[in-house]
Amino acid sequence: MADERDPRAERFARYLDALTEGGRPSPGDVAGDGEAEMAQLAAEMAAAASQAGDPDPAFVEQLRRRMRAADDGVAAVQVPPPIRDARAVPGGRARWRLTRRQLLQSGIGAAAGVAAGVIGVTLAQRPAARPTLGGDGELVAGEGFWAEVALLDELPDGSALRFTTPAFDGFVVNDGGEVRALSSVCTHMGCTLSYRPDWRDLRCPCHGASFDLEGRLANGRRTWRDNPYRGDARAYPIELPDLVRPRVKVEDGRIMVWTAQA
């Protein structure tokens, strides 16, 4: 065969390169008719040939903590609604733990935070809030509790971790030493965002919106003329509300996110 270049093959080769180099392949490189089946087949072959079929121990430990939190009642969605009569949590200084029963019996709310000696983290001062539908800066709520979602040690600068609490699904990010919590739900159609460390953004798999680590649309048209987004050929066609940002604090090296309760 002559030396030929096929744009489809070039594009698809990027998908395969990501796959075989252990990265996260981009769906954008799988666009043509029938290519999805090719991508799936390639994924199966890559997996079958890989000796790396076991999970990363750090990942296993991080997810384990979420399971433990569920056992503790932090993420117990079976918990019936309002919780009142706050009571200090015994042993609050060590790892914050509650049984599901305790969670049922005692309001955790503000009392737990006070009892444990809260040091709030300083959040970035945001510029004057723009009107949004999805969220307007920090999410502050009345009733709720602080849920431990990760250890600060696990969140080096430029990294992000996914977390789930009964009320909220999001990321905690470390942006130049500042810890922030951001919703993982795209404010367009509700697809789940992924963190891309190389880009330091939260990217939507559905239509390619990118949010910066302050939760603002980063590849929108409004900013495109002065600051086109790296790697995107075109601006995201519509403006989107900011991501919701719940309150976050770091306490004894533990990252806690405020979880509202109805």
């Binding site: 065969m1 270049r5 096929d6 796959l19 799988v30 969605v77």
Partner: protein, 171 residues
């Protein structure tokens, strides 16, 4: 720290490796495999009754994993998932749930092997070099004595042919 792990952590400890392998075998990359594994166990926290029989728990987890994989491909590539996986919706694991997926993955390898063997030589060769031996495109090109651009075209065509064969083979 807890004296004894709670029910969710126990379920997690028993199944995390198996579920991860199950998912990894179907998406072929670590970031997606981690996301989907996390989804399965988060769903378990929301919906799984941990007082059920261990076998039922295993069946439930693998069914959720199966659906998560299907959703992953559907959402990312906007197509109905056909033929790529041969687990029936009501699939139940064997007596030893953690071993069952491993056995299945052996079947998957056989299927892939068979698929490769039915391809024309050059197609088979490029896929073997790229995926089984994990050569880069450049290394594959040099091993096959073709240009870089040709290697990309060849892997593309080989996958297309293999995907069509795989589809036909499912019928």
């Amino acid at each position: 720290m807890p004296a004894a792990p709670g029910p969710f952590e126990q379920v997690y400890t028993t199944h995390v490796v198996g579920i991860y392998r199950f998912v990894y075998a179907r998406v072929g990359n670590r970031p997606d495999a981690e996301d989907l594994t996390a989804q399965v166990f988060i769903r378990a926290v929301e919906q799984l009754d941990t007082s059920r029989e261990p076998r039922q728990i295993a069946a439930w987890l693998y069914r959720v994993a199966q659906n998560a994989v299907a959703d992953h491909w559907r959402a990312f590539y906007r197509l109905p998932v056909v033929g790529i996986d041969h687990v029936a919706p009501g699939w139940e694991p064997a007596e030893e749930p953690p071993d069952a997926p491993a056995a299945r993955d052996g079947a998957t390898s056989d299927r892939l092997r068979h698929l490769l063997d039915t391809l024309p030589d050059r197609y088979r060769r490029v896929l073997e070099l790229r995926f089984l031996e994990r050569l880069t495109v450049a290394e594959t090109a040099s091993a096959m004595g073709i240009s870089h651009g040709n290697a990309k075209v060849l892997q593309y065509r080989a996958l297309r042919r293999a995907a069509l064969l795989g589809e036909a083979g499912d019928g």
